[in-house]
């Protein structure tokens, strides 16, 4: 009897796992295919530049670049220096020092001749207490020095301080390319009355040399973990988001590079300081607010503007990062659970949110369960070994297929990795990913879920090494 029950369980589990597997991969395949098609079809349109002087256009919206910084002394000066040479005529930089305990503030003082504005800001900013506000007399650079409150709190300080119609949230450890601000603002220029948020591409800075604030050579780093993240970024953060944006279901604009309409984000109350993935939570809330208000809007992913960011090169740090991302996603989905599957919220309700729940969350957990269940069933003698091997081969191939397609998409579109040897490496890691990185990620997902259930709301330390330097393998 037990053997029968066991076999039935195995059968059911196999069917569920296979179904999830097909669902996950077919969804990503569809999104990736749509993204590639969309990018290829838009190439001519993206190359079009209206006649007239861009910099002399009085209607260009001013932008505040808000840089929340906590213990970023190694990277903050280089990051802000790059921000000061952007190819856009109207912007200011607001660095929010969120109670750093290292030399972040001192590094900024030394580099940019900041002077204290000897006055309290006459508007209450909804954040932890402000110690002092500084300004550079020679440029539009402001430093808000405040008590520690977390990234969301720091972003709120900048969001409510600025008087610019748009604000751009970027990470202190990110390096933005000179033309990227102009590129990410484009939807706000072509559809100024509807666009409320745009997100740009985040690429991995490890292995990239920088000179005068821009990449001089782009190549894959030697670190295996970072290489896995490189393929992951191509699949999920580049083509995946392009596909989701295409169907109006973009639910994440990376905190490392997003541009928003200041007034609308203030209308929804700014960032949720309780969330550890404030970027996703903000965008989901933004969708809901505008849908409920019946206001036409666009939340768009713009693939060509790039910000380079340092990816974790140690398993420990990466694990903390992914743990936080997964817990944050759980928290956001739980907070907005009443919108999941509801036609009232259009494509966001019936596709976007369910996709994150079923595929990114539950799917990851089922995947993790499968990695444990298969060997257990095998050892228990209830699983046909040949079937198991065949299943594994199909699983690896399907999983790799989506990523290989993403690498192909990279070659067909923006080609930041333009060395064929790097492409070959990315392809190889696309296959390796299925047997190494993905099982590890599924394990992290289970740990994160357990942490979430136990009430863990921590961020975890993310040590920086600075740009242009290879991290230790």
């Amino acid at each position: 009897m037990f053997e029968t029950i066991g076999q039935s369980f195995v059968f059911v589990f196999t069917i569920v796992a296979l179904s999830y597997f097909l669902l996950v991969n077919s969804t990503y395949l569809t999104l990736t295919g749509m993204a590639i098609g969309h990018l290829r079809s838009r190439r001519d349109l993206d190359a079009y530049e209206p006649v007239g002087s861009f910099t002399a256009n009085d209607f260009l919206p001013g932008i505040a670049i808000v840089v929340p910084a906590y213990n970023e002394e190694h990277v903050i000066v280089e990051s802000v220096s790059a921000l000061r040479s952007l190819e856009y005529p109207f912007y200011e930089i607001i660095v929010v020092n969120d109670g750093s305990t290292d030399g972040t503030r001192e590094a900024l003082f030394e580099a940019f001749e900041l002077q204290s504005i000897d006055a309290s800001y006459p508007i209450d900013l909804p954040c932890e207490p402000i110690d002092e506000i500084y300004r550079s007399p020679a440029s539009d650079l402001v430093l808000i020095d405040k008590a520690n409150g977390g990234k969301a709190d720091a972003l709120n300080a900048g969001l409510y301080f600025t008087e610019q119609p748009l604000y751009c949230a970027i990470d202190a450890d990110s390096l933005i390319e000179r033309g990227s601000l102009r590129e990410i603002v484009e939807p706000f220029l072509t559809e100024p009355t509807k666009t409320v948020a745009t997100g740009g591409s985040v690429r991995i800075a490890n292995g990239v040399s920088f000179a005068k604030g821009k990449p001089s050579t782009v190549s894959l780093p030697g670190n295996h973990l970072v290489r896995f993240q490189a393929v992951e970024y191509l699949r999920a953060f580049f083509l995946g988001r392009t596909g989701l944006s295409r169907i109006g279901s973009l639910l994440i604009i990376s905190g490392a590079f997003g541009l928003f309409k200041t007034s609308v984000i203030r209308e929804i109350g700014g960032y949720d300081t309780e969330s550890i993935t404030e970027d996703m939570e903000l965008v989901v809330r933004l969708h809901r607010y505008l849908i409920e208000a019946d206001r036409p809007y666009e939340v768009t992913f713009v693939p060509h503007p790039i910000v380079w960011t340092e990816a974790p090169s140690s398993l420990d740090v990466l694990s903390r990062q992914r743990n936080r991302w997964f817990r944050g996603m759980l928290g956001t989905l739980l907070k907005h659970r009443d919108a999941i599957g509801r036609p009232r919220y259009g494509i966001v309700g019936v596709f976007g949110l369910p996709m994150f729940l079923i595929i990114e969350t539950i799917g990851r957990l089922i995947e993790g369960a499968g990695y444990v269940a298969i060997p257990v069933f095998f050892l228990a003698g209830v699983l046909d070994p040949v079937f198991a091997i065949a299943f594994l081969v199909v699983a690896i191939a399907l999983g790799a297929f989506v990523t290989v397609l993403a690498v192909t998409g990279e070659v067909l579109t923006y080609r930041r990795y333009d060395d064929p040897r790097d492409i070959a490496l990315l392809l190889w890691y696309s296959v390796l990913e299925s047997v190494t990185y993905r099982p590890w990620r599924a394990f992290v997902a289970w740990r994160a879920t357990l942490s979430y259930v136990l009430g863990d709301k921590s961020w975890g330390a993310m040590p920086r090494t600075g740009f242009g330097r290879e991290t230790k393998d």
Partner: protein
């Protein structure tokens, strides 16, 4: 067993397909990189040759042009377009001459009916930069299907206005069309340049059609008017006044802004009920009114801004009023604006840094030290 065999076959096919796709991808990467390098080399030497050839007579360039490969010709076209966007006067005329020799105008005119939108837009942009003859009828025939092409065609009319009859009126009509599609920022700039100075067909068009336009378009029209110089003493803006009572506060604010360039007209200043605007329940409208008063200046502006900094309940609007007052009258003592003391101090502190001066903070009693 059958399912196992099926699964094994699926796996094998997938792996074969994966391998093939990977090989194609690597091959494509290699080939594309090679093409880019060749194109970069072409770009370098075509640019060098262009600088040598540009000052020569057309007849002397014929053999050079005839000897260009397709890729070199494409590179040359993009270089010519690049310099046409940058240059003016005689230098520009030389590039226009070269463009004619390359038949860029004829090609662009043919592309007005191309299928991809990008190609059509590119064609209109190219025609904007050239002196290739193009009739208004041809533009109407080919460029009115979408807001993007209408904007590009309007830009062409602006860039080549001497060649057309009533270019401002025609281009304005193209931009606004049925008043249902908002303009891009590029379109707003074009509209603004078409309606600056003595000629403002936008005001006439608005007078006739504003009730049919959607709110977003009307707001944009108001924004454009705010950024133009209006010199016609008889320009009718009666249609603006009802907008001040619209249910949408953003539109009311935009309408307030649209009065900015008419401050020199006494009839408008007398007719506009600024005090009523200052009592508007929406802070965005009051803030727009403070900006208007700042631009208009004068004793009325000073009086009303002074009152506003004492009574405005909204922090941001009050800061805007204080900034406006400071720009009209930098020496207003803090004692006069005690309710906005913190705003006064902030503005002066910021200014002290920007001007490199020492800040004199007021005493707690309110008088400046």
């Amino acid at each position: 067993m059958e399912s196992t065999i099926l699964l094994a076959w699926i796996g094998a096919i997938l792996f074969i397909f994966l391998t093939a796709l990977s090989l194609v991808t690597v091959g494509l990467s290699w080939w594309t990189r090679r093409q880019e390098r060749l194109e970069e080399q072409d770009r370098q030497h075509v640019r060098d040759e262009l600088f040598e050839q540009i000052d020569r007579e057309p007849q002397a360039r014929e053999s050079w042009i005839a000897g260009l490969s397709d890729r070199e010709r494409a590179v040359l076209t993009s270089l010519v377009e690049h310099y046409l966007r940058l240059l003016s006067g005689q230098e520009r005329a030389r590039y226009q001459e070269l463009a004619a020799e390359l038949a860029l105008g004829a090609r662009a005119e043919a592309d007005l009916t191309a299928d991809p939108l990008g190609d059509r837009l590119q064609a209109i942009a190219m025609l904007s930069l050239l002196d290739h003859p193009i009739s208004h009828d041809r533009l109407e025939e080919t460029c009115v299907r979408s807001q993007e092409t209408r904007e590009a065609a309007a830009r062409l009319l602006l860039e080549r206005r001497e060649e057309f009859e009533q270019p401002a009126a025609r281009a304005t009509r193209l931009l606004l069309w049925e008043g249902t599609e908002p303009l891009s920022v590029y379109g707003l700039e074009t509209l603004s340049r078409l309606n600056a100075g003595e000629e403002s067909p936008l005001l006439d068009l608005a007078a006739e059609h504003v009730s049919k336009w959607n709110t977003a378009v009307v707001s944009q029209v108001c924004l454009v008017i705010e950024h133009t110089e209006q010199l016609d003493p008889g320009a009718s803006i009666d249609w603006l006044f009802p907008l001040l009572e619209h249910s949408d506060p953003e539109l009311r604010a935009a309408a307030v802004g649209a009065f900015t360039p008419f401050g020199w007209r006494e009839d408008i200043r007398n007719r506009l009920d600024v005090r009523s605007l200052l009592a508007d329940p929406a802070p965005v409208v009051r803030k727009a009114t403070y900006a208007l008063l700042t631009e208009w200046g004068g004793s009325l502006g000073h009086e009303l801004l002074l009152r506003a900094v004492r009574t405005e309940p909204n922090d941001r609007a009050r800061l805007a009023a204080m900034r406006g007052l400071h720009s009209i009258e930098p020496n207003v003592p803090v004692s006069a604006v005690e309710a906005s003391r913190s705003a006064w101090i902030w503005i002066h502190a910021e200014q002290a840094i920007l001007e490199g001066d020492a800040l004199e903070l007021p005493e707690p009693t309110g008088s400046v030290a």
